[in-house]
Amino acid sequence: MRLLLVEDDLLVASGVKLGLNQAGYAVDWASSAERALELVSNQTFDIAVVDLGLPGQDGLQLTQALRQSGHSMPILILSARDALADRVQGLDLGGDDYLVKPCELPELLARLRALLRRSQAATSSVLKFGPLEMDTALRQASVLQPAPAGAGEAEPRRLQIELGPREWGVMEYLLLQAPKPASKDKLLQALTGSDQEISANAIEVYISRLRNKFEPYGILLKSIRGFGYRLELDAAV
C-alpha cells in the first residue's frame, strides 16, 4: 500500500513513518501541502494521512484541493486540534476519518485498514479481512490456510468456504462493518427482504453455523452483549 503522509513536525513524521513502514505501508512523506500536491500529481496513492496545522496552506485547504482535483483516495486527518468544530469541518471538506494526536499506533493502523477496506469495496468486488476474502461478484468466500507446521517453504493455500445465501448475507454484512460491530437490529434489517421475515433466533443459528466454518481459521464472530456481533481476528492463530 502506498501512503502519503503530510506532516510538518519531524518527530511525529519520523515516528509515524517508522510505524507505518513496519506495518507494510510504503510511506511518502511531505512536510507541506505544496510538496504533497506535487507528489500527488506524479504518483497515485492508496491513502493519505494529513495533519491540519501545516506551514503555508493548511491541512483543510489541502484536503479540499485534493478532492477538487478529483483525487478519491481515503484521507485520514491526524491533528492536534480536537474541537468538535474542527472534526466536523475536516470531515465536511473531504476527510474520511479524523484522529486526534497523540494517538496509539494500533488505533491509527486499524483506522487505516478500515478506510482502505471501504475504498476497496467501492472499486473492487473483493472484500478482505485478515485471512478472509469474499468476492462479492463471484459470491465466493475463501480463507488463507496457514501452512502446516514442518511444511517448510510450502505456500499457504486458499481454501474455499461454502456458504448458504443467508450465511453469505450475514458474513458480508459483518465484513463490511468490520472492525466496527454490527448491531443485531441493523443486521436483521439488512437481511429481511420484502418476501421473507427473519427472526432474531434465525440470526443466531446462522452466526453459530458461520462460527463453525470460520473460527478454525482464526476469524471470530464475537457476540457483543446487548448490541450485536463483530468480526475479530484471533490473535492466537
Partner: protein
C-alpha cells in the same frame, strides 16, 4: 458573600429592626403612663383639699345640747350642697374622744388622731373606696373629731382610667407595631431575599451576571457589586482555563512525536521477546498523552460561560453504542465482556460532552476490571413514566470501599482497588517491580473528575454505588461465588429526559 445573605434569611436583620423600633415605642408608652399618673395624683390632691375646706364647716355645724350630751347639727349650705352632690356617696361623722359616733354615719367610727393636723385615709365599703379626712377640732361642744368621707374616689377612678385608657392602648399599640414591623421588614427585604434565592439557586459554575434592570433600586448597587465580583472571578477562571488549555496544547505536538516514535519502536521489537523498558516507556508516553488530553478537556468543561447550550439534546442509546464501539478493541484485548443494556431515550444535554463523560467512565471500568470481567453500559428512563433518564456504567471488578467513594471524584485521586497490590504499586515508581504480573493500570485520576464536572454542567452529579447485578445470569454467577470477591462498581447519573423523542424521530445531534 454568603454570610450576610444568611443573616437575612435567619431574620437577624428583622430582629435588629424590631429591637430598635420597640425600645422607643415602649419608652413612649412609659412616659405616657407616668404623665397620666401624675395627673391622677394632682386630681387626688385637689379632692383632699376640697374635703379639708369642708372640715371647718362641719365643725361649725355642731350645736351642743346641754341636757343629755347629745349633739345636734345644723349643716351649712356649703356642706349640704357637697353631700347632696355626692348623692349618698358621701358621709360624715362627729366622734368623741373615745371614738364613739355622736352624730353621722356609724361606720366612720374610729379612734381620734393624736394631733390636730388633718389626716387623710382611704377605706373601702360596700365596693366603693372612700377618701376620708379626719381632724380634731374645737367645736361649740368642746373638742371633737370630725370625719368627712367622699365616696367618689377620684384617685381610684383615675387609676382605673389610667389602666384602661393609657396602659392597655399602649400595650395594644406596641403589639400592633410589632406585627406591622414584622410585615414591613419582610416586605422591605423581599428584593434582598429574592436576590439571595437567585444567587443560592445557582450552580457553582454559573457566574453569569444577575439582571440589574429588574432589581429594585435599593438593591441595585448590591447587584452591581455582585456582578462586578462575578466578572472578576470569571476573568480569573477564564485566564486559568486558557493557560491550562494553552499549556496542554503546546505539550501535544512534542508528545505526539514522542509517542509515534515509541509506538513504532514497540512494534519493531523482535517477536516473542518482551522488551520491558520500551513497553514501559510506551505506557508512560500513552499515559502522559492521555493526561494532556484530559487536562484540555477539563479546562474546556470548566471554562466559564457554560458549555451546555440550552435546547441541546442527546440520544443516549446512540451514545452508548458509539462508546461501546470505541472501547471494544481494548475490552477484547483484556478479554472483558463489554456489553450494552440500552433503551432508546433522549435527554437534554450536550452530546459531545456526554460522550466524553461516558467514555471516561467506560475507560475507568475497563482499567479496573480484571481480565475475564464484565462491563455494562446502560441507559433508559428511571421509571417507566419518569421524567429522568439515566446513564450508567457498571463493572464486576473488585469494587472500591464505600468510604473511598467521595474521593473518587477528586482530581488526581487514584483508587486503591480491593486487589490492592497492583493498583497501589502503580501510584509510585517504587511499585514498578510489583506490577509485572498484575494488570498494568494506567490512569491519571482525572477521568472521573472530568465526568463529574460534565455531570455538574448538566445540573446532575455522578452517583457511585456497588454493582447491582441486574442481569439475571450474573446473579446466578455471583451466587456461586458468594458475592465476596466481585462487588463491582456502578457509576451513574440522571439527566432530564426528552419524552417526546423516540427512535422514530430522527434528530441528529
Amino acid at each position: 458573600m454568603k454570610n450576610w445573605l444568611n443573616l437575612v434569611g435567619s431574620g437577624a436583620l428583622q430582629r435588629r429592626l424590631l429591637q430598635l423600633l420597640l425600645l422607643p415605642l415602649l419608652l413612649v408608652a412609659l412616659l405616657n403612663t407616668w404623665f397620666d399618673y401624675r395627673l391622677a395624683d394632682s386630681a387626688a390632691i385637689q379632692q383632699d383639699r376640697q374635703l379639708l375646706t369642708l372640715v371647718p364647716a362641719l365643725a361649725d355645724a355642731v350645736r351642743s345640747d346641754q341636757a343629755d350630751g347629745t349633739l345636734t347639727l345644723s349643716l351649712s349650705p356649703e356642706l349640704a350642697e357637697f353631700l347632696s352632690s355626692r348623692a349618698g356617696a358621701a358621709d360624715y361623722a362627729i366622734l368623741n374622744a373615745d371614738g364613739r359616733v355622736l352624730a353621722g354615719a356609724e361606720w366612720l367610727r374610729d379612734y381620734p388622731p393624736d394631733t390636730h393636723e388633718p389626716e387623710f385615709s382611704s377605706q373601702e365599703l360596700r365596693g366603693a373606696v372612700y377618701r376620708i379626712v379626719t381632724q380634731r377640732v374645737s367645736t361649740r361642744a368642746g373638742e371633737l373629731t370630725v370625719r368627712l368621707a367622699d365616696g367618689v374616689s377620684l384617685r381610684w377612678q383615675r387609676l382605673r382610667r389610667l389602666w384602661l385608657n393609657v396602659l392597655l392602648p399602649n400595650l395594644f399599640l406596641t403589639l400592633l407595631a410589632f406585627a406591622a414591623v414584622q410585615w414591613a421588614v419582610r416586605q422591605a427585604l423581599q428584593p434582598l431575599l429574592k436576590l439571595k434565592d437567585e444567587v443560592d439557586g445557582r450552580s457553582p459554575r454559573d457566574l453569569s451576571p444577575l439582571d440589574e434592570a429588574s432589581s429594585l433600586e435599593e438593591v441595585r448597587p448590591l447587584v452591581r457589586a455582585l456582578n462586578h465580583l462575578f466578572e472578576l472571578v470569571n476573568a480569573q477562571a477564564a485566564a486559568q482555563a486558557r493557560f491550562v488549555a494553552d499549556a496542554a496544547h503546546q505539550l501535544r505536538t512534542p508528545l505526539a512525536g514522542l509517542q509515534a516514535l515509541v509506538e513504532a519502536l514497540t512494534q519493531n521489537r523482535p517477536s516473542g521477546v518482551a522488551d520491558e523498558p520500551i513497553m514501559r516507556l510506551r505506557d508512560a508516553t500513552r499515559r502522559t498523552s492521555q493526561l494532556v488530553q484530559q487536562l484540555l478537556t477539563l479546562s474546556r468543561v470548566e471554562a466559564p460561560g457554560g458549555l451546555v447550550r440550552p435546547g441541546q439534546r442527546a440520544d443516549l442509546r446512540q451514545l452508548c453504542e458509539q462508546v461501546l464501539e470505541e472501547h471494544l478493541d481494548r475490552a477484547s484485548l483484556r478479554r472483558i465482556d463489554l456489553g450494552l443494556d440500552a433503551r432508546s431515550v433522549w435527554c437534554e444535554g450536550e452530546a459531545w460532552l456526554l460522550h466524553e463523560l461516558l467514555s471516561n467512565l467506560t475507560d475507568n471500568a475497563l482499567k479496573y476490571t480484571p481480565e475475564g470481567g464484565r462491563v455494562t453500559l446502560r441507559c433508559g428512563l428511571c421509571e417507566p413514566d419518569g421524567t429522568d433518564a439515566f446513564l450508567e456504567v457498571e463493572d464486576d471488578g473488585p469494587g472500591i470501599d464505600p468510604e473511598l467513594w467521595p474521593r473518587l471524584l477528586q482530581r488526581f485521586y487514584r483508587g486503591n482497588t480491593a486487589n490492592a497490590a497492583g493498583a497501589v504499586g502503580m501510584a509510585g515508581m517504587a511499585g514498578v517491580a510489583g506490577m509485572a504480573g498484575a494488570a498494568a493500570v494506567e490512569g491519571n485520576g482525572l477521568g472521573l473528575a472530568i465526568a463529574d464536572e460534565i455531570a455538574r454542567a448538566h445540573h446532575s452529579q455522578l452517583q457511585i454505588g456497588r454493582g447491582r447485578g441486574r442481569d439475571r445470569d450474573r446473579d446466578r454467577d455471583d451466587g456461586g461465588q458468594g458475592g465476596q470477591g466481585r462487588r463491582g462498581l456502578c457509576v451513574s447519573l440522571r439527566l432530564r429526559a426528552v419524552r417526546e423523542l423516540t427512535d422514530e424521530t430522527p434528530i441528529s445531534p
